[in-house]
Symmetry: C4
Subunit: 278 residues, 4 copies
């Protein structure tokens, strides 16, 4: 394929860049195609639709797989460093969006793997003007990172609670009330602690109901813990940290956000104009 | 209709204004009528009531429609700019509150559209002294607007999660356990992730229950995200009564509404021209 | 009853005061009796217990009513202003704790009204050292009062949502799927929006499930609103408001919490020692 | 056992210390054994597994009990103060992890008590670098301690609400709709107020459904209270790394950890004796 280098470069601008008109238009069309392909997979899973239109839908699915294959090859072709693209996160996702369509030829259930294309929908942030979203996502990630250790403490505590309560309920209620094993008891404890409450397994004995009440009150109260952690960290991340300003006297670089004087040397950080003070 | 202009003006004061005694009394009576009309629609939907009083209720409903029609025409008549009113938000809602009553003559199910009158209930804020509520609603909207991008990031992530988990559950549990299609699986994932947990569709296989537990824990934890976002933004919006002006010396961004000097560095926020100071 | 005034006064100290040893002991015993009386009512409602011990329990209940009657008469007798006590909040609750026991002689279901004695349990705060709890309750009430208008805006919006969605679901799903009337639809909408999700009424049609998903996502998201309002207000109430300090130059009395200089006159709020500055 | 003292000391380093390579490796292996023992108990509770492998699992369980016994004796042996270890929190948990295995010889249900070993999993924080987690757990506990009184006020209010609503529902709905006693009513009220909503007991009468709606709205709203309390306290605790010292001039209460002068008024936080300054 000895196409002139200029075609490759023009393709690169369209396929990879997002700040040109052509690039944005390409991304928009691609998003619509991904969405359409997802809808096809979802529709095909509905019994009535599958019975009447399975041939048509399979054809459409094939067309989409062909389009994505063409797109993948184009990306490989016009990327300055094809290998680096192929092993990047986006490159792997792009590949994964094609493979199940080919496997589905031999093993029809594989078509559900096509749902992995939903990950390609994350490209949507490239169409909505990218940068402010990145900043917001950055705040959210910052808050999550800051609360990582607190969240691990929280999850370990929840796991311990759930194991203990699940076992207790298995012993108290027993198989005749649906608690057929400890894993089932733990499943029930998770359903209850998270306040989901399916109602497929419910306590029948008075003691079991007392214990359930305890689990529910605990679940209802400790939901405050992740919320509190996250809110406090997010407020921290959004406030920005310290005042960055060199003290004119001792050159201390960061200060409390509301500082008027340097806390090391006691001199004003922002001295008044000399004339006024005289 | 060559009524003297003074009647039109007096009507205008009563019908449109809220800071006069007559205007407030009119709004109160109108609210009661809207409420009564809503109650009529709701009562008529109850089987026992409908069987015994359907004639009576239809009559009452007609009376209300007539009253609203009269009110609408009055508003059109006494408004200084009738067309502008007719195409304003309130004008359209007022019209929509009448139309279904007329359609219901021919197609009886249309009467349920009358429930749109509930939107007219928003007038209640005009009766409760308006302005402090507007200010509070303003804070809430400000907080929502400030968190718009974070919320979009959040909703896109939730949609992706729900699609992936819904498909996985469809593949794992299959039609024999109620997961008859991918949309059904997505519906189940939403029911579970939001911790609603109807219990109409529940996982039966061990693998399905493990996956459900994961969905529930995620749902229970990420509820912290919108809460954290909203709280941090609301706190921001409430602090927002402050004067937003960068101090020319120390760049402090918000100040007391009446501030003349910066409370951090003591310099004038709005320095006079140098010549004047000399 | 010509008892010496000193007995009356001694009774007053025991019955009404909480900062003496005798007064606190009296309150503790009273709390135990109230608790025992509540347990009796609750036990009597259990079928097995009622069948076997109804005579015994009725006797015990009578004894408690007699004790509370004696206590009430004592309070009336030793209170310096009996009428004022009788019509105070606590006086009325004390009376209401006796009346149902007497009515129950003639109409046996009235005994359940005895549960009103649970309100007397609020005395528990008098036993746990009173004042720090009052301060905390004060913060909570302060936060609630500060958020009153925001909460009304929130509740009106929720009511509107619930009415509209309830009616829509009634029209879409109809009586054959359990949505037998608009009030039932509204009940379902409340069950769903609050993420309770009993599962006694669930959508069966695809359109109904799409609408339900919307209601659930809304419910899951707007729980952030009351939390955000309350947290922001509570943080406000706990932070205390402004810095109270008279400016030495212009006597401005309140300042931003972090102010170093007066925002009116620009002079230092806390001038440095003269010797140092020289 | 006259082993040289050096072996005891070497054992002590391995078994008790966490900052040496050998100590950390020992803790990691121990964690894996605890986890494996938990999995064994859980697997044994599943009917299918129990039927086919009960002998094998009992043997494995025995092996684990033997290992833990050996570990316990080693700890006793190499601890410098064996009695102090035996009666410490960890010592008691270590003992409790062995006893049920021995009791299970005579009374087979006792094996479920082995689940208490889950508490030993808390050692996981010793493997993940310990100290930052301790600090985070400290923040969380600090926040909980600070909000203790507010939480008691909250729990007392919730208990009162739940008792009153449970009794009301028992009177309104009655045994024919599943509300067979007041405790059952209270159980229902807890299930509903915490938004769990199992759906095993649901209101059937219109009045009951109106009351339920009230309970749900209350539950949905007051979840804001613990969240608000906890968030505000946690934010406080996290700010708590600051220096707590009232500035002698302006009474500012918290400062940067290394502050020498107050960042608000610029005066020394810890003024020297007057004579020295002169």
């Amino acid at each position: 394929m000895d196409t002139p280098s200029s075609l490759r470069e023009r393709l690169y601008v369209i396929v990879f860049q997002t700040d040109t008109v052509a690039g944005r238009r390409f991304d928009k069309i691609l998003l619509l195609i991904i969405l359409a392909s997802l809808v096809t997979v979802i529709l095909d899973s509905i019994d009535d639709v599958h019975r009447n239109y399975s041939g048509l839908l399979a054809g459409i699915e094939w067309a989409f797989t062909a389009i994505f294959l063409a797109e993948y090859l184009t990306r490989l072709y016009c990327s300055p460093k094809p290998l680096r693209y192929a092993f990047s996160f986006y490159g792997l996702v792009d590949l994964l969006a094609i493979v199940p369509g080919i496997i589905a030829l031999y093993y029809s259930d594989a078509q559900y793997l096509l749902i992995i294309r939903v990950i390609r929908m994350l490209r949507i942030f490239r169409v909505l003007k990218l940068s402010p979203y990145l900043k917001q996502a950055h705040y959210l990630l910052e808050a999550l990172r800051g609360s990582k250790q607190k969240i691990i403490v929280f999850l370990v505590s929840v796991s311990t609670l759930v194991t203990v309560f699940g076992t207790l309920m298995y012993v108290i209620e027993g198989p005749e009330h649906g608690f057929t094993s400890i894993p089932k008891g733990i499943y029930w404890a998770i359903v209850t602690l998270t306040t989901v409450g399916f109602g497929d397994i419910v306590p029948k004995t008075p003691l079991g109901q007392v214990l359930s009440s305890l689990v529910m009150i605990i679940g209802y109260s400790i939901i405050a813990v992740p919320t509190g952690i996250f809110t406090a960290e997010l407020a921290n991340a959004m406030r920005g940290e310290q005042l960055r300003h060199d003290c004119p006297t001792c050159a201390k670089k960061t200060h409390e956000p509301t500082a008027a004087f340097c806390s090391r040397c006691g001199n004003a950080l922002f001295p008044k104009a000399a004339t006024k003070q005289a």
